[in-house]
Structure formats: structure tokens, C-alpha cells
């Protein structure tokens, strides 16, 4: 495609650029394949690279979860193919308990870091934040490239941990939370997988922390400094607010994890004792550590770990708000309340980490304080839900695939979030902590709700990114079994938790002489649920390959998309499809109104682009915040400036 070589700026915009002094020169589109697609500094290419990285990781993570379900459901069954693939982890095809635990660890690490943190922020955020604020790239394009390649390095190191365990099992077995002393001195206690596997796991996370920091800085500076003319903060799409809040959370939380990781690495390798107390024994000799505290790690880890939950879900909230409004053909209900709620969630998110530690041995009074703070965070979450419902009320909903997934997000967010009211109470946590109730809760809310946000985003922005729409029929066929499937998997887990089923158990029963024997009798009522959930998981995961097929098929064969196929209002829809290297083809968009002007009375179309100028005219009503009067534009492709 032809791209203009030089960016022409309007005097006003040039002035603005000079004023904020970001030193942001004109971009020349690279011509060589390597600079264009591999070591690219174009935020759009980098965004797609992040998405592909996340897609690879999510496939691995899903397959791991299926192996886990297989082990738990048919604990003694021999699968010859597994024996061939993992001679140490599944000798004779029967998975070992340590193999299961390494799957637990890798599944969690892979999903939390390389999927939930990477795709919504690094992927969609990278691609669309600069465009939605009207910038021609990120503030620091080279830093952006560096953060992607650092992330990829982290992934390579993590995957290598699977293969580098000295021939015992496939990887670290301490869970994604890596609690010491198990992760610090597990090798001294002869726990399989806790040697080199742990080192690589820590290194991978440390690399990821660095990458996230670089990314977060870039997001924050870009949003604050590179907004185009007229793009005041309160006119930004809610996606931008979400990416911004997420970046702030990442900036403040990842350094803590990085520091904790370094300390754990030293404990594990250099004989320090940050997290290992004295007087421990492996049954024959005293372990040569003293003075550390295992609970210190938990504080550091969850100081990062709880904001991380919001890092995973906030971009999904942003995308959902954006998409709901677009397909409801209605302005977002309570834009300001949505922004404040998002910020409240981000802020409170830093004061609730202790709810992961009620029964850790932490002071019970501290637990009580964390409990009250934790339930308060439900308030802004509820505000968001009310506003989504308010947005749909009186709407003219168009049920395209992105909208289905966005509605699914709202449903899942409610279903998963609301049980936080149970888990956030110190008293109730006495029984619920570390049971399947917790698994049901967080998988629904930060797992599949976040994934639904990504699906919605993919179906929604695919036409803009690749110039072709994803197949709508396949998209709908993908949606239905997926939403039925995820509810079938994760709602029953709450019931299992009530019964008392602890998490991270490789199996709950065993076959002795052809007879099923429960390891713990109290788990026995869950038998039908274990079976049901496993089959639901296998079917749901299988259906996801339909999405992957649709994705790649549509890249080449999808219906060609116009510049604004969804009749949306924000800046990504006023530029060409796909956007040129400098995003707006040498012009600088000027913004005249808020992001969600749908159904404006008197306007020629039921949507008014952010760039439609305010001019004197009869249609007073559709100017945002009474800032002027305007004339609607029927041409979705105009860039006014």
C-alpha cells in the first residue's frame, strides 16, 4: 500500500508537539521486511506481535489445563502418547503428581503473564492507544520494540524451564505464586522440578517485569503527551482510560515483583535467607539458612499480585465499554462515573493484597482491615456493572460477534466478581481459602471474562488491523459453545469448593484393584462434577481452534472491510484500513466531542465521529458538554483537521 513519506502537520498540531517537547519527529515508513515486520518500531506491528505471542501462549496454557483435567479425572490411566512425549513426566503414559504440579505452575505463569497481561495491554493497547488519542506512534518507539522483544525473551526462558530440569520432570512445581521455602529450598528437600526449573522460572518473570515496566512508561507518556488537538482527557475513549490505569498499576507493581524475584533467586542459589527461616530440616540434616520470613514473600508477591488482577481485567472493561456503546448505538452511560470507578479500582487495588493472606499467619487484625477494604472494591465494580446495564437500557443493540462477547464479558464479570463478597470476608475464608471456590471465582473474573474482552476486541478491531472482517458466522458458532462451556467449567467449581476440595491436588481418588478409592472421603460428593467439568473443558478448548482457524482464514479470505465497518465514532475509524505507518496519512485529526456520540437527535446518522467539527447549525443537542453546535457528517472516512 502506498504510504505518505512525510507527515504534514497543521500549524496548531505542530505547535502542540513542539510544546510538549516529546522530540517526536516525523516517521518514515520502513521498506525492508525485517524493519517492517520483525524489528519494527511501528506500534501497530508491535501490537500484532504481542497478540501473536499471546495466542501462542494461550494455546500452550489451554493444552496444559486439559492435561491437568485428564490427570485429575483419570489419575491412573496410561496415555501412550504422553509417555512418548514426556518420558519423565508421564512414565508409561501415566502422569506423575510432580508433572501435574509443573503443569499447574506453567499454566498459571503462562496465562497470567504472557496472555492476560500481554494481549489486552501490549497487544490491543499498543495498536490502538496511539491511534485513539490521535498520535502517530508511541512516545518512545524504540523502547516499544525493546519491550516486545524483552517479553519474547521472557517467554523463551519460561518455555525452556519445561525442558531444563535435569531429567526429572518438566518444570518448576511450586505454583505460579512460588511460595518459599518450597521455591527457595525445594531442591534441598528433593522436591522434583525445584532446581534449575525454579531459576529459569524466576528469570523469566524478572525479564517480564522489565518488559512490562518499559511498556508501562511508554503508555503513560504517550497518553499524557501525545493526545491530538481537542482530545481532552474526558473525551478519550474508555479503552484509553483503561490502558492508562493499567499502565500506572504495572509501573507501580512490577518493580516489587522484580525485587522479590531477585531476592528469591538469591535465596535459591546464593545461600541468602530473605524468605527462609532458621531451624529447618530435611529429616536428616539442618538446612543452612536462618533469619528469613516466608510471609515476607507473600506480602511482596501479592503487593504485585493483586494489582495484577486488575492489570488483566481493566483493559477488558475498557474494550467492553467501548464495544457495548458502539453496538448499543447509545452513548456510554455515566462516562465520568466509569472513569472514576476505574481509577477507584486501580487505587483500591493496591490496598487489598492481604486478602490472599488471611490464613497465612499474618496478624488477624491486619486481615480484618484488609477484609473491609476488599469488600469496598466491590463498590466501583458494581458501579461499572450498573453503567453497562444503563448503556444497554433503551438501546438499539446490534448483535454482531464483538457485541456478543462484550455482553458475555458483563455476565461473566458479574458471575465471577460477585463471589469476591464471600472470599473477601476473613471468617468465610477460614473454609473457602485455597479451595475450588477460589478457582471458580478468579477463573471466571480474571480468566474468562478477561479472555472474553480479548475475543470481543479481536472480532471488533480485526477489520481495522487487517483490512478484512473475521467471518461472522464462524464467530457466532465460536461464541455459543464458548459461553456455555466456560460457565459449565467454572460454576461447578464453586460447589466443589463448598464441599471442601482443595486446589492444586493432582488427584482426589485412585483406582485400587479396579475400585475407586477416595484419598479424602469428604471430597466424594464431587465425583460427577469432576467428570462434568473435565468434559466441558475438553469441548470448550476444542472449540477455540475454530477461533484460531477463523483468525488465520480471515487474514487472507475474509470479507474486505471498509474504514468504519461498525459505524463507530472514535479515531481508529476515521483513518484508512489498515492505518498507514503514521496512522493518519500525514494529517492530524482534530477532536470536537466525546467518544461515544451515538443516537444523537437531529444528526444525519445515528453516530457522530469525534472528528466531526462543531459548526454553527441547528443541531445543538449533539455537541458534547455544550461545547458548541455541530453538523453531522455522513462520511465516516473524513479526517478533519
Amino acid at each position: 500500500m502506498a504510504e505518505p513519506e512525510v507527515t504534514a502537520e497543521t500549524p496548531a498540531a505542530a505547535e502542540e508537539h513542539a510544546a510538549h517537547g516529546a522530540g517526536h519527529g516525523a516517521h518514515h515508513a520502513p521498506t525492508g521486511f525485517v524493519r517492517k515486520y520483525i524489528f519494527s518500531i511501528d506500534h501497530k506491528v508491535i501490537g500484532i506481535q504481542y497478540l501473536l505471542l499471546a495466542l501462542f501462549s494461550v494455546v500452550l496454557g489451554m493444552l496444559m489445563s486439559i492435561l491437568m483435567r485428564m490427570k485429575m479425572t483419570w489419575p491412573d490411566h496410561a496415555w501412550p502418547v504422553l509417555g512418548w512425549l514426556f518420558p519423565e513426566g508421564a512414565p508409561g503414559g501415566v502422569m506423575t503428581p510432580e508433572f501435574y504440579l509443573s503443569l499447574v505452575t506453567m499454566h498459571g505463569t503462562m496465562m497470567v503473564f504472557f496472555v492476560l497481561t500481554t494481549a489486552p495491554q501490549g497487544g490491543f493497547g499498543n495498536y490502538f492507544l496511539p491511534i485513539q488519542v490521535g498520535a502517530d506512534d508511541m512516545a518512545f518507539p524504540y523502547l516499544n520494540m525493546l519491550s516486545f522483544w524483552t517479553t519474547l525473551l521472557g517467554l523463551v526462558v519460561l518455555v525452556s524451564a519445561i525442558f531444563a530440569s535435569g531429567g526429572s520432570v518438566i518444570g518448576p512445581t511450586g505454583g505460579w505464586t512460588g511460595y518459599p521455602p518450597l521455591s527457595a529450598i525445594g531442591h534441598l528437600l528433593n522436591v522434583p522440578g525445584q532446581g534449575m526449573g525454579v531459576n529459569l522460572w524466576i528469570i523469566s518473570i524478572a525479564i517480564f517485569c522489565v518488559a512490562s515496566l518499559l511498556g508501562a512508561l511508554n503508555f503513560i507518556v504517550t497518553l499524557l503527551n501525545l493526545r491530538t488537538k481537542g482530545m481532552s482527557l474526558m473525551r478519550m475513549p474508555l479503552t484509553c482510560w483503561a490502558w492508562f490505569t493499567t499502565a500506572v498499576l504495572a509501573l507501580l507493581s512490577f518493580p516489587v515483583l522484580l525485587a522479590a524475584g531477585v531476592l528469591l533467586f538469591l535465596d535459591h542459589n546464593a545461600g541468602t535467607s530473605f524468605f527462609v527461616p532458621g531451624g529447618l530440616s530435611n529429616g536428616t540434616t539442618v538446612i543452612d539458612h536462618s533469619g528469613g520470613s516466608p510471609i515476607l514473600w507473600q506480602h511482596l508477591f501479592w503487593f504485585f499480585g493483586h494489582p495484577e488482577v486488575y492489570i488483566a481485567i481493566l483493559p477488558g472493561m475498557g474494550a467492553t465499554s467501548h464495544i457495548l456503546s458502539t453496538f448499543a448505538r447509545k452513548p456510554i452511560f455515566g462516562y465520568r462515573a466509569m472513569v472514576f470507578a476505574m481509577f477507584a479500582i486501580g487505587l483500591l487495588g493496591f490496598f487489598v493484597w492481604g486478602h490472599h493472606m488471611f490464613i497465612s499467619g499474618m496478624s488477624p487484625l491486619t486481615g480484618a482491615a484488609f477484609s473491609v477494604l476488599t469488600l469496598s472494591i466491590g463498590v466501583p465494580s458494581a458501579i461499572k456493572t450498573f453503567n453497562w446495564l444503563g448503556t444497554l437500557w433503551g438501546a438499539r443493540i446490534r448483535f454482531h460477534t464483538p457485541m456478543l462477547f462484550a455482553i458475555g464479558f458483563v455476565s461473566l464479570f458479574v458471575a465471577g466478581g460477585i463471589t469476591g463478597l464471600v472470599l473477601g470476608q476473613t471468617s468465610l475464608d477460614l473454609s473457602m481459602h485455597d479451595t475450588y471456590f477460589v478457582l471458580g471465582h478468579f477463573h471466571l473474573v480474571m480468566g474468562v471474562a478477561a479472555i472474553f474482552g480479548m475475543f470481543a476486541g479481536t472480532y471488533f478491531w480485526f477489520p481495522k488491523m487487517f483490512g478484512r472482517k473475521m467471518n461472522e458466522t464462524l464467530g457466532k458458532i465460536h461464541f455459543w459453545p464458548t459461553i456455555v462451556g466456560v460457565y459449565s467449567i467454572f460454576i461447578p467449581m464453586h460447589a466443589m469448593g463448598l464441599v471442601g476440595m482443595p486446589r492444586r491436588y493432582s488427584q482426589f481418588y485412585e483406582m485400587l484393584d479396579g475400585k475407586l478409592v477416595w484419598i479424602y472421603n469428604f471430597n466424594s460428593p464431587t465425583y460427577p462434577l469432576i467428570q462434568f467439568v473435565s468434559w466441558a473443558a475438553i469441548i470448550t478448548v476444542s472449540v477455540q481452534f475454530l477461533f484460531i482457524f477463523n483468525f488465520f482464514w480471515s487474514l487472507f479470505k475474509g470479507e474486505r472491510a471498509s474504514d468504519n465497518p461498525w459505524e463507530a465514532t472514535t479515531l481508529e475509524w476515521v483513518t484508512a484500513t489498515p492505518p498507514p505507518h503514521d496512522n493518519f496519512g500525514g494529517r492530524v485529526p482534530t477532536v470536537y466531542r466525546g467518544a461515544y456520540e451515538f443516537g444523537v437527535p437531529g444528526a444525519p446518522e445515528d453516530y457522530v465521529l469525534q472528528t466531526t467539527p462543531d459548526e454553527t447549525g441547528p443541531n445543538v443537542a449533539y455537541a458534547d458538554e455544550a461545547e458548541g453546535q455541530g453538523r453531522g457528517s455522513s462520511n465516516g472516512n473524513d479526517v478533519h483537521g
Partner: protein
């Protein structure tokens, strides 16, 4: 499409509610003094959660059913929100959530922020991979000294009891937790290797056993019987079967047992374990 989605949301909501109401998957019967208060708080919470869940899903279903674009001549309602409603629903949810949070401290407070009653029996719990050790002070009611360098699995000294200490002479270490019905028991939890977690569903009680830290907790078992103790914190490859049992004995049987010298204590526990079958009242 909107109607199908609405029907799905309602059916899913109904099935989810049914799962909780069916009674097939619920807590095992509580056997601790705080158990009924726990169950009551859970019930209150799950009702609030259930009502909110049903209301939100039903409303979402209604919206997608009712407000579909069917090619109407009129546009969607043009509204940017309603501050009065924002304030109203923020205030209502805040009031409900904070009330729940405060009520949710009651059981916690009673267990964790009050001293163990003076008549509480004392047990030291030392967790290890993948076994629970329960240390009794014996008739002298003084716990013998333990030292990490004395720990030796080979000589069956799992907790490193120091035989040089006279107070240790009458101490007993068992792998079954024995408690006295209707009498508070104070556990002092510790671990000799990694973090474990003491978990008995029927007690409605869970507490991590943290290496290097003596965590004192207390509760009162009420119902005589034998119950399973599980580990609830990932502790290694055999985590899934780090199992022990808790006996809740009638007072006279308990008193008789703890007066026994070391050699007969474990033998008697073996007999009692057979006498009281493992609880399967779920």
C-alpha cells in the same frame, strides 16, 4: 440473537442457583463451636450474592431481549447517564458491602482476636513433607524442648524432641490429632520444612503452618468422631495425600488417653481410631 442470549442467561442463572440449592454439594456438617455461626454468615452472604447475581443476569437478559435493533425508525435513547442514579446505587451497594464486611469479622474475631480460654488443651503441631506431627506435653503439661539438629526421620524423631530435657520424658508425638469434645483446644502450628496448611472441612477451620513461626490458634470441637485433616497449601509432589485424622473424644476417654505414658499413648490412639469410623456425614 438477543432473545437466544437472554434465554441462555436466564437458564444459566437458574442452573447456577439450583446447584447451590440442590443440597448435593454443600459443606459437611459442622462440628465446631463456631461452625453454626460460620454457616449462618455464609448463608447470609450467599443470599446477598445470589440475589445480586440473579438480578444482574436477569436485567442483562431483559436488556438484550428488549432492546435489540429490529430496524425501528427511532434511534436509541440519547442519554449520557444520570447522576442521581449513580449516587443512589453507589450508596446502596456500599452500605450492603460494608455491612457484610463488618458482619464477616464476627467468627474471625471470636477465633483469632480473643485469647484461648484458660481450660484449653494444648497441642503443638509440626508439619513436614508429607505428614502431620502432633506433640502432646504429657502429664506434666510442659512441652519438652525441640531442636532442629535432633530431627531424624530414621530414629522416628520427626520434630527433634530433645531427650536431654526432663520435660520431654513424658511427651508424646503422634500422627493423629486427638482433641477433647466441648473443650477448647489451642494448636501451636509450625513447620519443619515448607509452608503447609491445616484444614478440616467439618471444623470450618484452616490455618497455614509456617516454618519459623509459631501460629497459635484455638477452636472448640463439639461432635465426637474421626475427621480427615488435609493440607491446603502446596507443599510438594505428595501434597494431595498429606493426610491425617482428627479424633474428637468424649472427655473421659480423652483424659484417660493423655495420662498414659508415651509407649501406650500411640497404641491407645490406634484402638480409638478403629472405634470411631471416619466421618462421612456430608
Amino acid at each position: 440473537m438477543g432473545r437466544a442470549l437472554a434465554v441462555f442467561l436466564w437458564v444459566m442463572t437458574g442452573l447456577s442457583v439450583w446447584m447451590f440449592l440442590s443440597g448435593k454439594w454443600w459443606f459437611p456438617t459442622a462440628i465446631s463451636e463456631h461452625g453454626p455461626a460460620y454457616d449462618q454468615q455464609f448463608l447470609l452472604t450467599i443470599i446477598v450474592v445470589g440475589v445480586a447475581f440473579v438480578a444482574a443476569q436477569a436485567a442483562l437478559g431483559f436488556a438484550v431481549w428488549r432492546f435489540a435493533d429490529t430496524g425501528q425508525a427511532t434511534r436509541a435513547v440519547y442519554s449520557h447517564g444520570n447522576n442521581r442514579m449513580e449516587i443512589l446505587w453507589t450508596a446502596i451497594t456500599a452500605a450492603i458491602f460494608i455491612t457484610l464486611a463488618l458482619l464477616g469479622q464476627r467468627v474471625w474475631w471470636g477465633l483469632h482476636l480473643t485469647e484461648a480460654p484458660a481450660n484449653a488443651t494444648q497441642v503443638h503441631v509440626v508439619a513436614q513433607q508429607f505428614q502431620w506431627n502432633f506433640h502432646y506435653a504429657g502429664p506434666d503439661r510442659v512441652f519438652g524442648r525441640t531442636k532442629p539438629e535432633k530431627i531424624s526421620d530414621e530414629t522416628i524423631n520427626y520434630i527433634g524432641l530433645d531427650s536431654d530435657d526432663p520435660a520431654a520424658k513424658d511427651d508424646t508425638v503422634t500422627q493423629t490429632l486427638v482433641t477433647r469434645a466441648n473443650t477448647p483446644v489451642q494448636l501451636t502450628l509450625n513447620s519443619r520444612d515448607v509452608t503447609h496448611s491445616f484444614w478440616v472441612p467439618q471444623l470450618r477451620f484452616k490455618q497455614d503452618a509456617v516454618p519459623g513461626l509459631d501460629v497459635k490458634v484455638h477452636f472448640t470441637p463439639k461432635t465426637v468422631g474421626q475427621y480427615e485433616i488435609a493440607c491446603a497449601e502446596l507443599c510438594g509432589q505428595q501434597h494431595y495425600k498429606m493426610r491425617a485424622y482428627m479424633l474428637v473424644l468424649p472427655p473421659e476417654e480423652y483424659d484417660e488417653l493423655v495420662a498414659l505414658p508415651q509407649a501406650q499413648f500411640n497404641k491407645r490412639v490406634g484402638e480409638l481410631v478403629k472405634k470411631y469410623p471416619v466421618n462421612t456425614h456430608f
